[in-house]
Amino acid sequence: MSSASDQSRLTKTFTELRRNKSKALVSFITVGDPSLDHTLECLQGLVEGGVDILELGIPFSDPEAEGPSIQAANERALKGGATLKDVLDQVKLFRKKNTDTPIVLMGYLNSIIAMSDFEKRASEAGVDGLIMVNLPPEEGEKIAQPLAAQSIDLIYLLAPTTTKERSKEIVEVASGFLYYVSLKGITGADHFDSVEVTRKVKELKELTDLPICVGFGIKDGETAKKIAPHADGIVVGSAFVDLVAKGGSPTEISARLKEKASELRVSIDSTKAP
């Protein structure tokens, strides 16, 4: 076992949350949306509002699994000129002020293929985990090794259509946490079935001790409340991105994000076991 000091930020965060019988609030926004000048302040607002883990979208021209909200976020960020290099620069800036909150990058494989030495540069910037939407475990082997060498967790997604057999295989190679995609569909969809999600998460819990976060389709405190008791974390994306889309100065947008995060935080904490 490694000593507490060389535990990853993700492990530390989940250990701490478990000790407090609390659940992780994971937020998603796209870096550079609406401009690179906004990102740092937005991230700080989210953390102040009670976010435990920051998921940052790498802007991509062809985000296949995203719904309209996050597609539009990608378009805004690209219009503002944001690149993967900028994403890493924003992480570096954030790390100057915050060395505790885990950062997980989320995006599509072509972005990281285009950057030589991505793993090393991401690690140096202060990235803790990576979610590649279009990288199932069968294809992940090649990048898993170099990521592990830089202590970056490769986080895999599980879906309602993932069979039990396959789930067993995925938990074997996963690290950091597991991301359970709560519905058949794209980000921001609204056909969420909390009973089915709960059943599925329970099933996964029997297979692994890794934390399980649930995302896709959670937009408000009500839904978060239903899921939080059964999972280790809740991922909220489109709802935050929609608040960014309303526009305004970095301070204005950041305040909006902070307020939404606090609201979700309260809902999640209201379900805390005594």
Binding site: D62, G67, T83, I113, A114, N134, E139, T161, R166, G185
Partner: protein
């Protein structure tokens, strides 16, 4: 259905869907199950004589196959070199090679008990082919089409609607074929239980590149047999245009093990490769991952997919089927390009010398012939995949000629 060509020399793809280092299955987790199901079902269908009979029955009686192998005598005379034969895919029902794949895949959808099919389309040819077979089999059909293309291809849009399909304009990204493909993937991920996605070319995640190739390779099988009957020998060169690469794979595949036959794919050179305004990833692209597979792509240093340009909407795509990437790397096929202007010249020559109105996509393959046949010996034979007819392009051509119809 296509016979599997099993030799030691060429046996791609691998079980995981790799053609050398290209292909694979880069998709959101939700789709993995559906792709596994499709692989299993296809595997069974391939070994089922009943499926083969159904496929060929529809190709013969509904599509009108086999298509003819035609010696283009005046075109050959005009160029003064190699003998040019045309595999007349323009004579298919709906006017292009695309229908072979849609018939095969719609039969697979039936077998899976899925009542709904979806498709992406650029020029509208694949959309029309899908709407057609959906009507014939009583399947519900939604076709995604870039908002730009909906405007440019109004005839095909209306044609799809007449057959009961729903055409959904896509306003995200560059509002063209690649975005239509993204949107179709999003639909599929959401409706995977009752929907089969009929991809229109040899791209996408495994098993699509293999399935589409196998269904399309009826073209090469017929052409190979017809050529042996007519000339008593194989052609020296087989030429086809390459968008995603289905008509090219369809005619190349049955010749892959014939080492005396050279295979030439022709990409869209647009305004010229040096201008960057083209759709020629095999000539000028880099290796990356898009739409479920690893292949050559047109993208920038940050991995963002570039907008492409071609006079022909059917070639206006930033990627290319992974098997072509493999054939290029192993040197089994070569890939050239033709500009918009060269394609237009070839288009006009074919009209006037043979009375055949070729599609603008196809005209890129013809442009290669115009350029290269004169330097070849009269005893040599070129086989061209005349992938489709140009009726759909008449408005575009008239516009170039400054005529309003």
């Amino acid at each position: 259905m296509a016979e599997k060509i099993e030799t030691e020399f060429y046996d791609a793809p691998s079980k995981g869907g790799y053609f050398g280092e290209y292909g694979g299955r880069f998709v959101a987790e939700t789709l993995t199950h559906a792709l596994n199901e499709l692989s299993d079902l296809y595997d069974k269908a391939q070994r089922d004589p009943q499926f083969k009979r159904e496929f060929h029955h529809d190709l013969n009686h509904f599509v009108g196959r086999p298509t003819s192998l035609y010696f283009a005598k005046r075109f050959t005379g005009l160029l003064g070199g190699a003998k040019v034969y045309l595999k007349r895919e323009d004579l298919n029902h709906t006017g292009a090679h695309k229908i072979c794949n849609t018939v095969g895949q719609a039969l697979l959808a039936k077998r899976m008990g899925k009542p709904r099919v979806i498709a992406e389309t650029g020029a509208g040819q694949h959309g029309v082919a899908t709407a057609t077979i959906a009507a014939r089999l009583g399947l519900e059909c939604d076709v995604y089409m870039g908002a730009e293309d909906v405007k440019r291809q109004s005839l095909n849009v209306y044609r799809m609607k007449l057959m009961g399909a729903n055409v959904i304009p896509v306003s995200s990204g560059s509002r063209t074929l690649k975005d239509a493909l993204n949107e179709a993937m999003r639909d599929w991920v959401t409706n995977v239980d009752n929907t089969h996605y009929i991809i229109g070319t040899v791209a996408g995640p495994h098993p699509y590149p293999m399935i589409v190739r196998d269904f399309a390779s009826v073209i090469g099988q017929e052409a190979r047999a017809q050529m042996l009957e007519r000339e008593g020998r194989l052609p020296d060169t087989v030429v086809a245009c390459v968008g995603g690469g289905s008509n090219a794979m369809g005619i190349f595949y049955p010749f892959v093990n014939d080492s005396s036959v050279s295979l030439v794919g022709v990409e869209a050179g647009g305004n010229g490769l040096q201008t960057g305004e083209h759709a020629a990833p095999l000539n000028e692209g880099k290796v990356g991952v898009l739409h479920g597979n690893r292949t050559y792509l047109m993208c920038d240093d940050d991995g963002q997919i570039n907008e492409t340009h071609s006079i022909s909407a059917g070639l206006d795509y930033p990627g290319v089927g992974p098997e072509h990437a493999h054939l290029k790397d192993i040197g089994r096929a070569t890939y050239s390009s033709a500009t918009d202007v060269e394609a237009m010249e070839a288009f006009r020559m074919m009209n006037k010398s043979e009375g055949i109105l070729a599609a603008l996509e196809t005209s890129h393959a013809l442009a290669w012939v115009v350029k290269n046949a004169p330097a070849m010996k009269e005893s040599e034979i070129i086989l061209v995949n005349l992938s489709g007819r140009g009726d759909k392009d008449i408005l575009t051509v008239a516009e170039i000629d400054g005529i309003t119809l």
